[in-house]
Structures are given as structure tokens and as C-alpha cells.
Symmetry: C2
């Protein structure tokens, strides 16, 4: 989701909570998956997402656990260093997340406009008394 400039509408970041045990998918994991899809490897996707090779690999392991099946499939060349691609599970996760984000942006637009009108200015007039 594009980030808001000081003049633009506040934007929403979404996290999907699958349960109360910390199985969560948010914008960082989705961006990593999209970069794996476009870069074709976990290490390149990590670089594109400004994260270390190790961090990207650990996140992929976590995403696979959350999905209850592989979202990312690796090929030869080491656990995270070889080629990688999204499985149908990974593709489905990304697609649903982006669709939810789109619906949410539309649904929340009126309230975000009202919120911007009420508050959210970097320097305001102070509280009403």
C-alpha cells in the first residue's frame, strides 16, 4: 500500500491474525513473498526488501509454518541461496491479502477523510477545551 505523504489521506496497514498464538501475516511478509515471486530467489528478495539473507530465510520458514504447508518452494543451491518460487499456497496468500487491502481501502475511505479533517496534522492547534 502506498505510504501517505503529510498531505495525503492516512493509509492503512493490515495484519491478518490467524489465531491468538502469533500466526500473523502483515505487509512485511507479503512484500517478501512478492519479491521472491519477482526475483526468483530468497536471497535476492531479501536484498530487495532490505533484509538480511538470514532474516528473509527465517521469515519464509515462519510463513510456511503459518500456512500449514509450503508457501515458498526452494530449488537446488542451498536452503535459501538457490532459486525459489511461490507455491499455489503462497500465490493464494498474496492474492487474498492484496484483495483484502483493496476492499479495505475503499471501505475506509470516508472515515479516513473524516479522520484527516479532525486530527493527524503534524502541528495542530492543540486540544479543544
Amino acid at each position: 500500500m502506498p505510504k501517505a505523504s503529510p498531505r495525503s489521506l492516512p493509509s492503512l496497514s493490515l495484519r491478518i491474525d490467524f489465531d491468538t498464538l502469533g500466526r500473523r501475516i502483515g505487509p512485511g511478509k507479503i512484500r517478501l513473498l512478492e519479491n521472491i515471486h519477482s526475483c526468483g530467489s530468497i536471497s535476492a528478495a531479501g536484498r530487495a526488501t532490505n533484509m538480511s539473507y538470514r532474516r528473509a530465510g527465517l521469515l519464509v520458514d515462519e510463513i510456511n509454518r503459518i500456512c500449514g504447508g509450503a508457501a515458498v518452494e526452494t530449488r537446488e543451491g542451498g536452503k535459501y541461496g538457490g532459486g525459489a518460487k511461490l507455491t499455489p499456497i503462497g500465490l493464494s496468500l498474496v492474492a487474498h491479502y492484496r484483495k483484502i487491502e483493496h476492499s479495505v481501502e475503499k471501505a475506509a475511505r470516508r472515515e479516513l477523510l473524516a479522520l484527516r479533517a479532525d486530527i493527524g496534522k503534524p502541528k495542530g492547534k492543540g486540544a479543544s477545551h
Copy 2:
């Protein structure tokens, strides 16, 4: 927002990003504000939110900065220890956040059902090949 049990629909957590400089309001800050509203003090609200007195006070300062004006007004008895209440800015922030959350839950319901059908089981059948 109620948290999902393993059988229930995945739930969404929302964060509102006012800009790219880290001015963000998410469920933790909103819950703290609601507890200040119901408890009438920052320290009691901190306890109700399972956070230290100091952490609750720092979050209130941050929320006030984000809003560009006081969202919480304190009374006598020390900076965080006396009574406190939400200003119109604080009340508006909480109300808009909860309305956005409500619209978003309605808008995302169909996609969340589809997502639950595709993935998100704690133990799955593995990736499709």
C-alpha cells in the same frame, strides 16, 4: 477486535499510518485510549492494558504528538498519576478507528472466508505441486 480461535475466521488488525515518518496508530494505542476513557487515569489504564506506568505515559505523549494536539488531558496529581480523560481529539480518534475497523471487517469478510479455505490451517497437507 476479537482474536480468532483456530476454528474462527482470521481477524484483521489495522494500523493507521499518518505519514512516512512513523506517525502510526494501531490497536495497542487505541486500547490504551479506551482504557483511559473507562478508568479515568493513565496509570490505571496502563495496568488494564498490561503495560507499565512509564510505557503508558510515553505512549500517551506519542499519541498527543501524532494528533498534533492533546488526545489525553491530565489533571492534578503528577504527569501520569492523576486523573486523565480523553479530549475531543482523543474521542474522535477512537471513534474513527473503531468505525474503520467495523467497515473493514464487513468489506473483508468474503476474502477472509476464501483465505481460510485455502490456507491458515495449523497443520496442512503441504504445498500443491
